[in-house]
Symmetry: C2
Subunit: 573 residues, 2 copies
Amino acid sequence: MGKRIVIIGGVAAGPKAACRVKRVMPDADVTLIDQDSLISYGGCGIPYYVSGDVADEKELRSTSFHMLRDEYFFEKAKGVKTLTSTRALLINRREKFVTLENVRSGERSNISYDNLMIATGSQPVVLPIPGKDADGVFTISDLHKAIEIKDRIARGGVGKAVVIGGGAIGIEMAEALTDLWGVETAIVEYMDQLLPRIVDWPMAEALAQHLREHNVEVFLGEPAAEILEKDGKAVGVRTARRTLEADMVIMAAGVRPRSQLARDAGLHVSDLGAIVVNERMQTSDPSIYAAGDCVEIRHLVTGKNLFAPLGSLANKEGRVAADNMAGIPSIFRGGIASFVMKAFDMSIGATGISLETARAEGFEADVSLTAPSDRAHFFPGSAIVCLEMVFDRRTRRVLGLQGIGPMNDALSVRLDAAAVAISAGATIETFTNMEMAYAPPFSTAIDAINAAAYVAENLCDGRMRQITLRSYVDWLADFSSRPDWVALDVRHVKQAEPLVGKFGPEKWLSVPYEEVRDRYRELPQDKTLIIICNAGSRSFEVQVFLDSVGWKNTMVMPGGFNLIRRMDASLMA
Amino acid sequence: MGKRIVIIGGVAAGPKAACRVKRVMPDADVTLIDQDSLISYGGCGIPYYVSGDVADEKELRSTSFHMLRDEYFFEKAKGVKTLTSTRALLINRREKFVTLENVRSGERSNISYDNLMIATGSQPVVLPIPGKDADGVFTISDLHKAIEIKDRIARGGVGKAVVIGGGAIGIEMAEALTDLWGVETAIVEYMDQLLPRIVDWPMAEALAQHLREHNVEVFLGEPAAEILEKDGKAVGVRTARRTLEADMVIMAAGVRPRSQLARDAGLHVSDLGAIVVNERMQTSDPSIYAAGDCVEIRHLVTGKNLFAPLGSLANKEGRVAADNMAGIPSIFRGGIASFVMKAFDMSIGATGISLETARAEGFEADVSLTAPSDRAHFFPGSAIVCLEMVFDRRTRRVLGLQGIGPMNDALSVRLDAAAVAISAGATIETFTNMEMAYAPPFSTAIDAINAAAYVAENLCDGRMRQITLRSYVDWLADFSSRPDWVALDVRHVKQAEPLVGKFGPEKWLSVPYEEVRDRYRELPQDKTLIIICNAGSRSFEVQVFLDSVGWKNTMVMPGGFNLIRRMDASLMA
């Protein structure tokens, strides 16, 4: 018999590694262990199972050729010994064995290894608030919970729900509850935006507005203080500002690495609780590997450690661990936490780091905000994709890209292409000439990603000066905060008219783009002109022209109406 | 007045450069010249205008904010002097002026320049065959022709059409004629596949089958010998094998650079007729630039010169030329001819070079062929995307990626991400860990592009041996050509059954994937087993297992039924 490889954890990285080892080292003796009875499921599919898009939980556990990934599958098809409902209690590193316990019978046994791999994943954070253990409070920790949630809704009796946490899982669950089941759902988020630290405020605002348009209430900057109970059942959630009724509470307040076993074995674990591994996915004990949600990897932008519990990374890490256990030198350089999600009719995603993170990391960071068409504007079905490109003014390196788009792959195209370049440390100039396959049904001759880079370049080179969206929104809400600012709306007169009417012709000037060269002398020179169009590009051209004739006190409103109306339709009505 | 910049050519690179110059050097005196009356149109949109997807040709000439890009627009909005219906007759390089002729009045004049830019584009190849000048024979050279084609069809009387040339424009026109107007359309292509030199045979076959399924006749390896005429009107096309009736003939036999003006001026022009430029888009005369379809650029994979008449490249080249004319140092490194197109319900595209090209260029090239799901297979609407990754076995460099997918952005996502890496000279290992944003509605945890790289890696490392699709198809058509070959179908018994019935149990063995470990001793060792599944991955696993137990005479059928049934449904019925 060959090398004895024991893998603890059977959801993503574990099964991937087990199967890969058997492929590259067929005589290896591979054992896959999980404390759960259900293994190798697509955890990211849980919201779609709850919503009903995926009818049966078995689909989440099946291959594309419709075979259930159960013990039989791993044993027969993959040649991997599979012990489910089996908990790993402790690792004896000196004698190289793991003590196991059958969670049903309580029976204990030891299993020896030449290489051990820990793929214990992550666990949901349970907020230490009153009522957290009430009936009807759920975390999205495993498939059993998902089944229980869906069963409970299907049986009726869930009319209102509160999701605690405005991260991806919380939002996906809110959509599932609202859209398919008609449950009145509210999200309460501790931070002052959705998807905190993942996207910046403009994109998060657009997401929040979209959720509200789809009947999900969103309360930001409101930590859940208490889950209200009645007879042991959850009946509501109280925040500092309000009390929300709820028959069901989803606690989606993030996840943390499940690393107690590693810690108990004396392996190096970070302050945040993630197992520390090298580029071969080796822990501080060279015969023990780890991969998936329980580890931290290297962030390819910041160079720091990154805890990124993503199924895409878990599988790649698992494969690299497997290769190394099988004697094939293989490297996992790190990641940049590329992320995308569906929210009703929109997609939102990010790769690399946000502006907020970039500034915290000490970059001289700035952003280009654009809102062009995802494909030829004359092609039926074209839509706007809003992109924020984060870059370092000093080095011109692109640090991140985030955006919102229609509910198709239009955003993914740009994120994935950007991720390749960002992972390689590319500068803005790589993006200006990035070659995106073009035909009118798919993109534009100057692709959205090129356009984003053009703006970044113009900003870096001092050819463009912009207002931040925060300042713009604040000013719109209260002109007296900046009495010297005046809007210059360069769209068609008909488009500007309602706003001229609303704000008055002193505050809202209307000079169409193509008339500025002839009429610029009408514009005040003692005011700051906020130049506004639909996407930002006409505004930039007008700024450049006004600069050339001495009207230099201007700022472009980046992304234009295409973006701002997605953030708050009422502001621009 | 500032620098005098004259730009000849007003479709893509020319207008782009004119506007960019005015933005970065607002006091420049920029003149844009075109012999046509219609300028700055989306030429790639012509097939969608003919089909009716785009109702009015003006949409192809309008901005996303619905302004017509005519002389008024360029003068007023952009500050660019615009001379349409004006032909550039000759360039006097010594005295730096261009002699112009008004094509209506015949009036001549000279215009002086400090920098000149040539953006004269390309012109369709007119095959020197009898009947080429008959009424009803069209090339897709400009918007006027497109308008004439559409008018003629709309007036009725076009019941049958023949498209000469199976490149992108020919195929797009065939779709436009068939799908929207119900014209019975045939494509005749000189080479033995569609999209020759752009994609390899498997993808081209899948495209041909798809076109045939949508009532487009496709005749390959059949040069058009003659256009038949009656009373000066085209009535058919004759090839060596058949005569096709036609009321309209579209000649789409490729394009060549329009470079006579440059050649007459003594500028360096390549043997193929393309203007030679450096990385600043400068011609052999440092004060003259050129960009767009009339130039050749550097191919970033082969390092050789590339003539790639693509709108996406034209715009980027134009911008770089503009920057340099305005004194901003800017570089266009080259391109890899990324390409994508719609063909009815499918998309097809490529980036980098094909296997055929790679071998001709001396690479030790091989391909990975895969056919996985474009998004989580359990997510509604998921579809198969077939990818061919071309790589060099010696250096492990990825040379190209091509594929077919559903009619959405699923293929573009992979092509565009690949293009970034291929342009940078990346190896297979960059692709195995390429981070693609994942959520079930968008992709799979192991993305299709990762899976393609896994297969390439397994091929390079000698863990996988595959049959070429040509050999497979030849063998299926005539088993006697390879009497020692036997199929091993590892899909479900029910799926294999019809083929066991059709070919007989000696030629078509059925052992399901998950039973191979128990039943491999049933398999013949004196035959070559062609292992077949749906996507190729199970076949690979079976091959690895059989190798480990001494059954080493096997070959994987790459891409499996997912791919082969797209190439020829009848082969697999």
